[in-house]
Symmetry: C3
Subunit: 347 residues, 3 copies
Amino acid sequence: MKFTANDIANLIEGKLEGDPGVIVNKVSKIEDGQPGSVSFLANPKYTPYIYTSNASIVIVDDHFEPEKPVKPTLIKVNDPYGAFAKLLEIYNNIKHKKSGISDKSDIAETAKIGKNVFIGPFVSIGENTEIGDNVNIYANTFIGENVKIGADCLIFSNVNIYPDCMIGANVTLHAGVVIGSDGFGFAPQQDNNYKKVAQIGNVIIEDHVEIGANTTIDRATMGSTIIRKGVKLDNLIQIAHNVEVDENTVIAALTGVSGSAKIGRNCMIGGQVGIVGHLQIADEVRIAAQAGVSSSIKEKGFTALGSPAIDYNNYKKSYIHFKNLQTLVDKIAYLEKELKKLKAKNN
Amino acid sequence: MKFTANDIANLIEGKLEGDPGVIVNKVSKIEDGQPGSVSFLANPKYTPYIYTSNASIVIVDDHFEPEKPVKPTLIKVNDPYGAFAKLLEIYNNIKHKKSGISDKSDIAETAKIGKNVFIGPFVSIGENTEIGDNVNIYANTFIGENVKIGADCLIFSNVNIYPDCMIGANVTLHAGVVIGSDGFGFAPQQDNNYKKVAQIGNVIIEDHVEIGANTTIDRATMGSTIIRKGVKLDNLIQIAHNVEVDENTVIAALTGVSGSAKIGRNCMIGGQVGIVGHLQIADEVRIAAQAGVSSSIKEKGFTALGSPAIDYNNYKKSYIHFKNLQTLVDKIAYLEKELKKLKAKNN
Amino acid sequence: MKFTANDIANLIEGKLEGDPGVIVNKVSKIEDGQPGSVSFLANPKYTPYIYTSNASIVIVDDHFEPEKPVKPTLIKVNDPYGAFAKLLEIYNNIKHKKSGISDKSDIAETAKIGKNVFIGPFVSIGENTEIGDNVNIYANTFIGENVKIGADCLIFSNVNIYPDCMIGANVTLHAGVVIGSDGFGFAPQQDNNYKKVAQIGNVIIEDHVEIGANTTIDRATMGSTIIRKGVKLDNLIQIAHNVEVDENTVIAALTGVSGSAKIGRNCMIGGQVGIVGHLQIADEVRIAAQAGVSSSIKEKGFTALGSPAIDYNNYKKSYIHFKNLQTLVDKIAYLEKELKKLKAKNN
């Protein structure tokens, strides 16, 4: 993809200074800008680099006036970082946006496919499944029967969506994601065997959710496992059956949420956190990485750390003492010795 | 899939009261039963809901006599929960049961395919591989050469089975599972490089095992990594080379078992547990979530917690004191001060 | 694959004693050698087994002279274990080495494919992507546009390589690996929503890297996430955006490395370790399993344990006291009581 300085000035509504015809096809940091790249200057600390940068275009502040000659074409805007971010977004959207339905895909006759959809090779789509407008589905993705996928979703390669799941609009699923696998439910039998409990619910994912690579979300035993609007899940996360994660909560990689836990809205959950089943986590709770939450957190905005997780500051304080336990032990030994001496004297 | 009340009464050998022709195509909880759904009433606490439920069919106890008129058709059985579970199982089996071999699959000529097998599109099956009767293999699954898969297995989409692995009967593998990837074996060299140790063993999975989405099981360096009969593994678990997991042990998500560890039968292992290589874990051991087991557990039925893992109750007790370490530290400081005073008095 | 004793003697440059025509098609340990297998005897402890082994061939030391008749054909070499390892390597290379391009693959016209390449069925390769000589790509793998893959790589099934990523030579990627998924970058907005930060960098993987099954490596926000020469990553690892892992570092399963962390060379990092973002880890650092590294480690060769991670020996010592906290608490209570008595006496 190539853009001229003029294209970019129009996209971000900026004022051009320099050659409007210079062409770029990539982005760079200003300190290592190469010919053919577009960069930006937002932090004054980096101003010196503009006089040495080989970037072809630099987006700068409205008020920027070079003190020396500069090589790059400048585009002046109100908010250089914001304009650059907007540019990246446009670039990214164009990059991932494809169209056409591969004749190497396998689409059930009863599936309903929206307008302007991209379906890559080796994708299979089951009976009665509905795919919204402008959805992009990359190669090797499997979508079972009776699935609904809203408009403007981006589904990367090798994703698995089991039957009956519902995906909202503007959802991004990264490669290897599994949606709707069976919940881990087995009833112990008298002979030590386990009998599988049929998992006949589904998964509901609301609008504007993003789910990272190889993350797995199990279907509910009955009813639905629900990921609410705006939730962001990192890679390699496990969400068990009947869990609900409320709006705009973000969860980092390798975290596991056990069955039927309910997590509030606007929570921030670190990596490798474990949350025990059937708990409730209030809104705006923060859980530090590697914490193990073994009881409900009812206080809004609580910050937890440790395994089992307790108040963040308490844990930190106790951990300082933990590191000094040898000193405590020595002090106690000294006290015992001295006390003994004193007692001897007093008898 | 649609069933009449009459169909269901026959399936679960119940006595029908109400319209035998009413049709259902889903299940619901009694408290939020919708028209077209079948529900059940087992816990007397939920009895009031039967008078307001919009479920079309409710499975009830033999002895249940409504005190007011009820809308749903009733089916009376000895054990309503058991009958409902049986119904779900039948429903689930029908749902996942497909047949036919997709002409978009890629099956080696030397592969032997059993009777009544379903093979989805974009599945590939290697040379000399044997697939048992009634096996279902969903889209995009890769099965290498010389693999054996027993009867009645259910293998979901995007599963990977490397060459030479052996899968028993009635095994379920969820989407994204990897069986038989190379063990993590590298020999350090004098120049700080590592030389790969060839991993030429395989993985053996016995009957009635279920393995969750994106779980990985490495092949043995030599010999076999073995998952015994009835073992249940959750999602995103790592089983390293030459591990053995004995019968009916269950392991929760995100747990890692290092190379050559041997885990006993009927163990229950929580989520995010780590087990060091070459250890032995006795039968019926329970390991709490996030524990790190760094030495063998030889006592049958032992319960472990902590990292490194120790006896569950000891850990719990020590952790209470850990949370109060500030108090201990304050007490010691007080003792030191008082002792000093006393010593002064005594001199 | 079948070899005669004569073939093997030539491959490992050994001296044959016994039937040169005996055929083997697998390997075994000497203590459970079966007909048709090749084994080795390196450790004198195992010498008795050579008189009972049913292996068809045993590789032995130059100086080995049987005291009794032996059934297997012997191949005498200078270093039996080394020769056996070499044999395994040859065997493994032959096993994974395939050739030909499946007509069920989907390769862009602008892709450049090297010589002697194997591309399995249902593989897709994007525009302008370059595949080096002797590369093997198994079924269902997706490789996006503008990717470069060096010579002699082995890429198993269902691997995902996003656009613009660069893979060196002699790299092995196991099944389900994801390279180049978006970094987890979201900017909080005033209304509690998150706005995605476009992730327009890539991933660079240098030569001789091996990456385990279902491991995920995110692309950089800008610039590159870099895995240097000789790094070995186990299964189910998360490497976040803009991380750098330096040469010959090995990382065990289920570890997570957060954004922009820099890890030195020749480090050994255990399983389920968490490393906080933006940290620096010096060369030759060892991090024990389940540790949580929350600040930079600047000391070369440091060994860390605990969460938050501290010096290994300090943690071990403190943990011993942690396990005995009840005893400490009891001692303090005793001291308090005795002190009180003494004070009473002294007043």
